[in-house]
């Protein structure tokens, strides 16, 4: 049947206005007409755009009607008093007060709320092409502190011998697979989400698509974060994660607190808070790209526990030694970017960066809104006037098609690729991708493909009420990139001027850390933060699994809270009920006897293993360090470690974490003051000030 595209009923159908028989009839005619289907899809898209524009319009400076408020206040006053002139004066005051109150409420009321209140996009094409195939190399089961079979029955997974994966994938014979006991790397689950996933006990469970996978496809502003639990060292001796140099969560939290409210819990990523600060680690030796520092102290929020710090420091590169840079600014100029703290701030930030460039560097500007376009051809860094003028002329308007812009930006970056130089796309956006590929999963897959080209990515987040924090964090994560949130020009100066080399120059990529704990010394342990960076133990030696990058001069810090063995300290992991005994296997008879493989190692607390690749390399290198906790007290801890502990505890208090122990904001301030050190840039003082401000704020509901 031929359908008339100029039928108002077709529009009515698209807008959900038809009901009953009319609707059924229309559905049937549309089903046979591709043009009609396209028309309906386009109409709905247009409706979404219109709605978005109306919403954006409502966020413009309000045309308030103070006189309405005035009339209400006046009536009230007049009915209760007859003091003419006084009432009038009061009324004026009331107008101003009411106006101010409304403004404040307006300011404060638009913060994004986490969780279920956000809209779920329809799940489209849920299975990405990339899968973890059976190529994962076997896990190195040569534990330092335990023999391979020395595991307790509570953890079937790690008992599975690391058989060659090919066998498990291609020949599912009468092995344990039939009972659901499967080995590493054999399930065809999408690579991207899979590798970040850990179930509650820290081990991936088969047959259950972890919830993070599903979260890849919604537009939730802040993804839900389940904190890492305490894990027993005997059954979970390995802890594996990817490094993270992002700092966005810290500046985002600061923005919330400065505007008078505590952040939503899921906006708090503790590792990004800790890593906002530089720590005084030693410089890398020889030609190593980074150094490793290990130290420990008593845990200040639970003195029976220990705190172990792993610190990495990337090699410093002098400003004049930075290789030639090929930069593409990918700037969101959509309508939502109009407010002063968005596009105008981005333009200011870009100007700061351009000032630091020289004739060997190149800059191009790609903008995107309803479509995308090249606003500035790749131009050498000495032609500052040309670049500045192009920046100046940018204006915000229209809706956002991020995907098209990303395509174009990478194309320009590749056309101007500098071999051996810095090749980087710098994306500045509020993350509101509302046309084109808006499905977060699709966007992230797009970026993942682009990252393979050797072009790195920096994501600069701006804006408040529609900051799509989770999208941007994932883009940076998958795009071999870093993510910073610009809440002010000062923050832009930190990221783009003071730490320009760290932001622009990647000195090692896919940096992974695996820690093995010695059960003789450690009853259980907990990694503080890094929830979104957890890897499976098998991923550590698998060079196909992507991980975080470290930039020149960057420091990366991870803290473990450890329950020492045999000291009678309360062990949160011990309260977890034991797992049922196995039906088809007997527990390894040697289990108890096989700990402490090497008597020389029996006193060690843990071993840290690190894998990384050179920025243009495909194979990883391994380094390893062992560490023995000397039981030192918190009073004697280095200032840096005290400060890191203060930041961690502040994050846990903001998250209202079950693991925050007996720490208070007051204690956080005290530790931070003790740990403030030289603080040349004043960042630590800023932290203390923020913690003081947080003391005056009420906790969020829920």
């Amino acid at each position: 049947m031929k359908i008339n595209l100029d039928d108002p009923n077709l529009t009515a159908f698209a807008l959900g206005e038809l009901t009953g028989a009319e609707r059924t009839t229309m559905e049937q005619s549309i089903a046979s007409s591709p043009e009609a289907q396209e028309f309906v899809a386009e109409t709905r898209q247009l409706a979404r755009l219109l709605k978005a524009d109306y919403v954006a319009d409502a966020q413009l400076p309000p045309e308030r009607l103070p006189n309405v408020v005035a009339m209400r206040e006046q009536r009230r006053l007049w009915s209760s008093t007859q003091w003419g002139s006084l009432a009038a004066a009061l009324a004026i005051f009331a107008v101003i007060a009411a106006f101010a109150v409304t403004m404040i409420r307006r300011e404060g009321g638009t913060f994004p709320q986490p969780g279920p209140s956000t809209v779920n996009l329809p799940v489209k094409a849920p299975l990405p092409e990339a899968t973890i195939e059976a190529e994962a190399p076997p896990v190195e089961q040569t534990y330092a502190y335990q023999q391979p079979s020395a595991t307790v029955p509570s953890d079937e997974k790690s008992e599975v011998p690391a058989a060659p994966p090919e066998v498990m994938a291609d020949k599912p014979t009468a092995d344990m697979k039939s009972y659901g006991y499967t080995g590493a790397g054999k399930t065809k689950v999408p690579a991207a989400p899979m590798k970040r996933m850990m179930s509650r006990n820290g081990v991936l469970e088969e047959g259950e698509l972890p919830s993070r996978y599903r979260q890849d496809f919604n537009t939730a502003t802040y993804d839900h974060v389940d904190e890492n639990p305490f894990l027993p060292a005997a059954s979970n001796p390995l802890s594996t994660f990817s490094i993270d140099v992002d700092t966005a969560s810290y500046s985002n939290i600061r923005r919330f607190i400065n505007s008078g409210s505590l952040p939503p819990k899921d906006a708090v990523r503790v590792e990004e808070m800790i890593n906002y600060f530089s720590y005084d680690y030693h410089e890398p030796e020889g030609d190593k790209p980074f150094s490793i520092d290990l130290d420990s102290t008593a845990c200040p929020w639970d003195p029976t526990h220990r705190l172990v710090r792993i610190g990495l420091k990337g090699r410093e590169v002098a400003n004049d030694k930075r290789p030639a840079s090929n930069l593409v600014f990918l700037l969101d100029v959509s309508g939502s970017m109009m407010p002063a703290e968005r596009l105008p701030l981005v333009k200011q930030a870009m100007r700061l960066l351009v000032e630091k460039l020289s004739e060997k560097d190149r800059v191009a500007i790609v903008i995107y809104a309803g479509g995308s376009g090249l606003a500035l051809q790749s131009t050498t860094g000495d032609r500052k006037e040309v670049i500045m003028r192009a920046l100046e002329e940018l204006k915000a308007g229209g809706s956002t098609n991020g995907a098209e812009g990303i395509e174009l930006a990478y194309k320009v970056a590749l056309e101007n690729f500098i071999k051996g130089g810095v090749n980087r796309v710098i994306l500045a956006t509020d993350g509101d991708f509302n046309i084109g590929v808006t499905n977060q999963g699709d966007l992230i897959r797009l970026i993942e493909t682009k990252a393979k080209s050797g072009v790195f990515l920096s994501v600069l987040g701006v804006g408040t009420d529609n900051l799509k924090d989770s999208t941007m964090q994932k883009l940076a994560d998958k795009g071999n990139g870093n993510y910073a949130y610009l809440d002010s020009i000062d923050e832009a100066r930190k990221v783009l001027v003071q730490q320009i080399n760290g932001t622009l120059m990647t000195i090692a990529k896919d940096v992974k850390i695996q820690v093995e704990f010695n059960p003789a010394r450690v009853a259980s342990y907990r990694l503080i933060g890094y929830e979104k960076r957890m890897l499976r133990k098998e991923d550590f030696n698998n060079d196909k699994v992507d991980a975080g990058e470290i930039g020149a001069g960057h420091t990366v810090t991870a803290l473990y809270e450890i329950v020492p063995a045999g000291t009678g300290a309360t062990d949160p992991a011990a309260s977890v009920p034991p797992v049922d005994p196995l039906k088809y296997q007997s527990p390894n008879p040697n289990a108890a006897a096989t700990t402490y493989v090497d008597p020389k190692r029996s006193g060690e607390t843990l071993t840290v293993k690190l894998r990384y690749k050179k920025p243009d390399g495909d194979t990883s290198e391994l380094t390893e360090r062992s560490f023995t906790d000397n039981g030192s007290k918190f009073e004697n801890a280095p200032a840096d470690l005290k400060f890191a502990a203060a930041v961690a505890e502040f994050g846990m208090i903001l998250r209202d974490s079950a693991h925050k122990g007996n720490g208070t904001l007051g204690a956080v301030i005290e530790w931070a003051m003790e740990g403030k050190g030289r603080d040349a840039a004043g960042y630590r003082a800023g932290f203390i000030e923020m913690a003081r401000k947080a003391q005056t704020l009420k906790p969020r509901e829920g």
Partner: protein
């Protein structure tokens, strides 16, 4: 005692504030479109909220948007009638009359505006703008719009259909003036 009972059926306090916050701006835009002048529109919207304060809750019938737009519209039309301006009821004339809004590209130079589509929307006949605003800004159904505007439901349907058609055509066309590239709607 008596007065307390009367108060309970009225809309007050936080609820009133919420309604004002939500609808003040849409109503202002709505009335301005009818009256062609924002000062009179302010008066009409103010009067609408004052009426809302005196209205019994039951009269709202759980649909404050419909109530507010109806009262606001009637207020604006009354002014039109009194001042013998071109009345909004003269549908045929309005359908064909070009909007006196400047074309988007001109307006852009005057003032950086928000939504791109909204600027194109300003070039549509006022009656079409009106129904689009009610539908997409205020999420009202065809039925509710019909009650507010005193048009038949099918009339509302035709207006929205035609408006979207024009909007779609002008979107690509006008975009060229604004952006240094041709945007496209990706469905």
């Amino acid at each position: 005692m008596h007065s307390v009972q009367v108060e309970a059926v009225k809309i007050e306090g936080q609820e009133m504030d919420a309604l004002m916050k939500r609808f003040e701006r849409p109503l202002l835009q709505y009335a301005t479109r009818i009256l062609g002048d924002s000062d009179r529109a302010r008066d009409v919207v103010q009067e609408t909220f004052v009426k809302l304060q005196n209205e019994r809750r039951a009269e709202l019938d759980g649909a404050p948007a419909k109530w507010l737009f109806t009262v606001c519209r009637n207020g604006a039309l009354n002014i039109c009638r009194k001042e013998k301006r071109m009345t909004y009821l003269d549908q045929e004339l309005l359908e064909t009359r070009a909007s006196d809004q400047p074309a988007p590209s001109e307006k852009l130079e005057a003032k950086e505006a928000t939504g791109f589509l909204l600027r194109i929307l300003g070039t549509l006949p006022p009656r079409q703008q009106e129904v689009l605003q009610l539908k997409f800004q205020n999420d009202l159904s065809y039925q509710q719009i019909s009650e507010i505007t005193q048009l038949s439901v099918s009339n509302v349907g035709v207006l929205i259909h035609n408006a979207l058609k024009t909007l779609r055509q002008r979107y690509a066309q006008t975009a060229k003036d604004f952006l240094p590239f041709t945007p496209r709607i990706v469905s």
